[in-house]
């Protein structure tokens, strides 16, 4: 068996069988299944019952006014006079005062908030028209009181889309909700996978170094081969985990009719969706490779396991930076300067480029340049990691900078 394969399989199988892998996978799969049943779970905890009728007690005039307003609101709730008994889906409205209006609403069950809103709106309208009457306003005066302001928009927008009319003008581009969901899922998954696996490979490399077994290993296999095998195995582990999640999602859709929920939420693909999904996948994998290579290199610098978190701090901070830039700019002005510039900074590219892929104005060229930037940086990171790995794994002096200095000298 080739030495690459030996390291690769050993790392892969030991990571796949690790408790942390199994537990984290199970938890996420569980979350997916729970999420797929979200509507049912809400129903389960929701003890409120649809109200079919409001029984009104008191003032006759109020009763007919209220009934008229409720019917006009098309609420699906009938208004009846109260006769001393209350059914399970009925509420009791008793009038204590009419000017100003004071009522008590009694129900044996919780009332869905939607229906409470309807009743409140109707009561408000009754109150207002009563007030208008009490003030003796003329027809015209009453209308003026109810008039809505007439606002016309004149906002200078870069793209000039404000002149298109139709959709509501504003400075935020329309974000397709399905694309937003895909984007959020990609960026969040990418962030957690990168943080998780970057720290795992850092730990793995540092453990081999601090336990000194590395000296036996590099006397058998070239350090570069070993490092590449480790990184590849780790990538395959993370892809395995992603694949399991994907399977869980497919299973959830299939078993629990998740598709209808997506339909209910009004998520629809547009012409950018395919671009977004394809590039998100590419950036996810490339970002993972880049971050894993860097973490492996950083892990090889330390001499004590205690220093690991500190050594990995740059990776964590950069991933966090990219993550925030991406997440906080989705509803903002599309492609602002920060987004444009940071999308070409290799360590931010995997997070920020999917954001740009969502925007129809971003050219394919830009997206491809992002891919090229990542591939070049990965090549550089791997070459750098490999060239200093041999020296850094055998050195015992602490500190990243000391190590870099020493390695440059040799």
């Amino acid at each position: 068996m080739s030495k690459f394969l030996a390291t690769f399989l050993q790392t892969y199988s030991s990571k796949i069988r690790a408790k942390s892998f199994i537990i984290s996978t199970l938890i996420i799969v569980l979350v997916i299944f729970v999420g797929a049943n979200f509507d049912k779970i809400i129903d389960f905890f929701d003890s409120s019952e649809e109200v079919t009728a409001v029984k009104v007690e008191g003032d006759e005039a109020f009763y007919s006014q209220f009934k008229g307003t409720m019917d006009a609101l098309d609420s699906g709730i009938s208004v009846e006079p109260y006769e001393g008994d209350l059914g399970s889906a009925e509420v009791h409205l008793s009038i204590e005062e009419t000017a100003p209006l004071a009522v008590t609403l009694h129900s044996d069950n919780e009332i869905p908030s939607e229906q409470v809103n309807k009743i409140e709106t109707a009561l408000g309208q009754v109150q207002r028209s009563n007030t208008i009457m009490a003030l003796n306003l003329s027809e015209e005066e009453a209308q003026r009181l109810n008039a809505t302001p007439d606002i016309s928009y004149d906002i200078a927008s870069e793209s000039g889309s404000a002149d298109d009319g139709g959709s509501a003008p504003g400075d935020t581009p329309e974000v397709n909700p399905l694309n937003a969901v895909v984007f959020y899922v990609t960026v969040i998954v990418m962030f957690f996978i990168i943080i998780n696996y970057a720290s795992q490979i850092g730990t793995e490399v540092a453990m081999e170094k601090t336990s000194r077994v590395i000296e036996m290993i590099v006397s058998s296999v070239p350090p570069v081969t070993h490092l590449l095998a480790k990184i590849s195995a780790m990538i395959l582990v993370s892809l395995t985990q992603l694949f399991i999640f994907l399977l869980a999602i497919v299973a959830a859709v299939w078993i629990f009719d998740f598709g209808s929920i997506i339909g209910d939420l009004g998520l629809e693909a547009n012409e950018q969706t395919a671009t977004l999904i394809v590039y998100s996948g590419i950036y996810l994998v490339l970002g993972l490779v880049l971050y894993l290579s860097l973490s492996a290199m950083l892990g090889s610098f330390i001499s004590r396991m205690e220093d690991l978190q500190q050594a990995l701090l740059p990776v964590t901070m950069l991933a966090l930076g990219g993550f925030y830039i991406a997440i906080f700019n989705i509803w903002g002005e599309a492609d602002n300067m920060l987004v444009k510039v940071s999308s070409f900074f290799p360590l931010f590219t995997p997070f920020v480029m999917p954001l740009r892929a969502m925007n129809a104005e971003t050219s394919q060229m830009t997206l491809l340049i992002g891919v090229v930037i990542l591939i070049v940086s990965i090549a550089l990171a791997v070459i750098l990691a490999a060239s200093i790995y041999r020296n850094s794994v055998l050195s015992t002096s602490g500190g990243i900078f000391k190590n870099l200095k020493r390695i440059r000298k040799e």
Binding site: T210, S219, L394
Partner: protein, 298 residues
């Protein structure tokens, strides 16, 4: 068919750690590296294995440079011991064996034999971090020889073991050697070299002080040791010509003489006094050679 080091030097940041070493390790021999702390033994081994680049000079094995094409024939026990703490013994050995080109089945079979030999078969499925230091060291030794290497380099293999385990290990090393492996090891213990090796070298502060076959080193060294045991006072002997040093332990005297030719006159001198239980001329010990060449003992 030998391992040859010629003009081998290594300096770290301008400090010389190994200074022009020339050595020849014959195939099938057992070769000892002696030297105090910081003498350059570990650095030399690392250069042989290609873990460090020599600053000067070169190394050949069977006439060729050592690179990753021949590492399958080499076994190495590093000075700084350590295995992956989270792996089980068999997982770790299997992995290291596979890195030497072995199949899983081969590793498993040999691992059983070796664990049996080292009297630790119960450790097979234990996590390495749960083993005692000495037992970890045994496992690591197994890892370095499981692929039946032709050249075995052991950096202080006996340090940190109890006497029983030192014995077990010595026997294993001897057997590997008798099956044809060339073995190089470093140590601070003269008696291990005395007992095991036919060739050796002594390093001091990076310089090679002596090297070659031990019997020849002894012969060239010239000095002999005489042990005299008896009830007479013979302290006057220390002023005799050729006597370098004399020590007395109760009624036993140990003399060092420049070479064997002085032994006869000393013998003639003491028989005049009467009966002596013992008069024995010994080859110089490696300890003596070490002290006289390096200037201090270890």
């Amino acid at each position: 068919m030998t391992l040859e080091l010629s003009g081998l030097s290594k300096s770290f940041n301008g400090q010389t750690a190994v200074d022009h070493i020339d050595l020849n390790v014959p195939t099938g021999s057992m070769y000892g590296f002696l030297g105090g702390n910081g003498a350059g033994k570990t650095t030399t081994f690392r250069m042989i294995l290609g873990l460090l680049q020599p600053s000067e000079g070169h190394i050949t094995y069977n006439g060729e440079k050592i690179d990753y094409n021949v590492t399958n024939q080499i076994g190495y026990l590093p000075e700084e011991r350590g295995l992956h703490p989270k792996l089980k013994v068999d997982e770790q050995i299997r992995y290291l064996g596979q890195l030497k080109g072995m199949s899983k089945q081969e590793v498993d079979k040999r691992l059983d034999e070796w664990l049996e030999r080292f009297e630790v078969p119960e450790n097979r499925t234990k996590r390495i971090e749960k083993l005692s230091k000495g037992n970890q060291q045994k496992i690591q030794l197994i890892a370095s020889i499981i692929h039946d290497p032709k050249l075995i380099i052991l950096d202080e293999p006996f340090s940190g073991l109890d006497p029983v385990n030192v014995e077990i290990l010595k026997n294993a090393v001897k057997e590997l050697n008798s099956r044809g492996a060339t073995i190089i090891f470093s140590t601070h213990r003269m008696e291990h070299v005395e007992e095991l090796c036919e060739s050796m070298c002594i390093l001091n502060k990076g310089r090679q002080v002596v090297s070659g076959r031990i019997d020849e080193i002894r012969k060239d060294f010239g000095q002999k040791e005489i042990i005299i045991e008896g009830d007479h006072d013979i302290s006057f002997l220390k002023d005799m010509p050729g006597v370098i040093d004399m020590k007395q332990i109760r009624n036993r005297y140990i003399l060092k003489i420049e070479d064997e030719s002085y032994a006869e006159s000393i013998f003639n001198e003491i028989v005049k006094l009467g009966y002596f239980k013992r008069f024995q001329v010994n080859e110089p010990s490696i300890n003596d050679i070490f002290i006289s060449k390096v200037g201090y003992g270890i």
